[in-house]
Amino acid sequence: MTKKEQKKELIMQKALELFAQNGFYTTTIPDIAKSLSMSVGNMYNYFKSKDILAKEIIKYISAYLGVKLREINESDISTQAKITQIVTIYFQTAKLRPEMIDYFLRVFLSNREVFKEGCEGMICVNDFVTEIMIFFEEGVACGELRNQDFFSAFGLFMGYLGGMVFLKGEAILPQELEAYIDDISENIYRALKA
């Protein structure tokens, strides 16, 4: 990674935290620059606008999760075990990098107008969605999962995980996310199995 790329990642990480914490519209480029002790002018050398930064961040999160899912997809374990691992990774990310999941739920999904151009469909979350597609396709091909429409399965899996993280973020869940991994994995497996 070049020095410029490292700096870009640092900016994205900081912006991600601020967007997730304070909201997309209330966080400004000067806020982000200030938190990094950078000049606003220098910030624009890396990202030409806040919208561009927002789109790069969602791609960054998607790539981060995509790499982790790819490792799971390429491991020689059953589909049921993969489900448990995916749930674990998702919840671990929500705990260790809460800003990432928050950004996805509270910025990306809640401010669609920002992502209308340049993030059409699932382009900006392609790395992540591709791995989920591979997980489903291989699960059906090996006979462990029931064949059905992709989005029926995707919504069940990701909607469920997103919902749990949202409840945790709202301080409604009585226990830590890890406490739910086994039950949730079992529920997802039962719902999707052949």
């Binding site: 382009i123 392609n126 591709t130 489903f136 396709e137 992709f150």
Partner: protein, 285 residues
């Protein structure tokens, strides 16, 4: 150059397809058949089976069956006799090449049982050329015969098919490629619009042949006329449910040949995100 057309278990689709070539009259001036099922020839089939006649190229058509006899002579004995005499052997069609439509445990192609080689005629492998298809494209057969006559070097793939005709996929030259690129099926049989890969069973992206480069009857092809490619040049032909794309959770089980799944899905995800107005309209109202 003397040709022998020898038919095993066949529907004679290849024989008829061969006669559809626009070059057929010229071809018959340049080549002579010692036997052909539909043309006047100097020998009858019985004479071919019971006598020894000289031939330069053996054209084998149809699926072979263990123990099959004609005129009281075992078919494979006659086949070996002419295979030894011939300078080249061409397996004409997917039945003679891979077993095809009539394939079973004791029925097979000349060198292959589907894509698996068998040993029965292995001694002739070096002089065999596969012209698969159901039926064969007449131009592929005729041009290959001319190439042999003119002693051109034929580059063959691992199933012994000439790369000149089988080095491409049927997808190459398909007029629906733009719909494929943007993942738009929405096809109705016989219509001009839409790609048939996603829902209608089209096997063109993973089937080798020249149907969209050398048109049938110099006019059209399956995909151009609105029907899916059935994959008839491949050892796996015929598959079940030819008008249906087998999908796992919405993802086609068979992807374009040689494209890694991850690469295909990444590109498909991007392409699908765009709604291209032109592709939602009829070409001819």
């Amino acid at each position: 150059m003397r040709l022998l057309w020898l038919s095993a278990l066949t529907c004679h689709g290849n024989v008829h397809s061969f006669l559809n070539s626009p070059q057929i009259e010229k071809f018959l001036e340049d080549f002579s058949f010692i036997y052909h099922p539909l043309l006047d020839t100097p020998y009858s089939l019985e004479e071919i089976f019971t006598q020894e006649v000289e031939c330069d190229i053996l054209l084998l058509d149809g699926t072979l069956e263990e123990g099959m006899e004609k005129f009281g002579v075992e078919f494979e004995t006659v086949l070996k006799r002419y295979a030894q005499k011939a300078k080249k052997i061409i397996t004409v069609g997917s039945c003679a090449s891979f077993g095809g439509v009539f394939l079973s445990e004791n029925r097979y192609g000349f060198l292959y049982h589907q894509e698996k080689p068998h040993e029965r005629f292995n001694e002739f492998r070096d002089k065999t050329i596969t012209i698969s298809g159901c039926p064969i494209h007449p131009e592929t057969l005729i041009n290959t015969l001319y190439a042999i006559k003119k002693e051109y070097t034929l580059h063959l793939d691992k199933l012994l098919r000439p790369k000149e005709y089988y080095g491409y996929t049927i997808h190459n030259g398909c007029l629906r490629n733009e719909y494929f690129e943007y993942k738009i099926d929405e096809h109705h049989y016989g219509e001009l619009e839409g790609c048939l890969f996603y829902d209608h069973g089209c096997q063109a992206p993973y089937t080798h042949g020249s149907c969209n480069r050398i048109l049938w009857n110099e006019t059209s092809s399956k995909t151009r006329s609105g029907s899916p490619c059935f994959g008839c040049t491949e050892p796996t032909f015929p598959k079940h449910r030819l008008f249906y794309t087998k999908k796992n959770m919405g993802i086609p089980q068979h992807l374009p040949v040689g494209i890694p799944k991850r690469a295909y899905l990444s590109l498909a995800g991007v392409a699908k995100a765009f709604k291209i107005e032109r592709f939602s309209q009829k070409i001819v109202e």
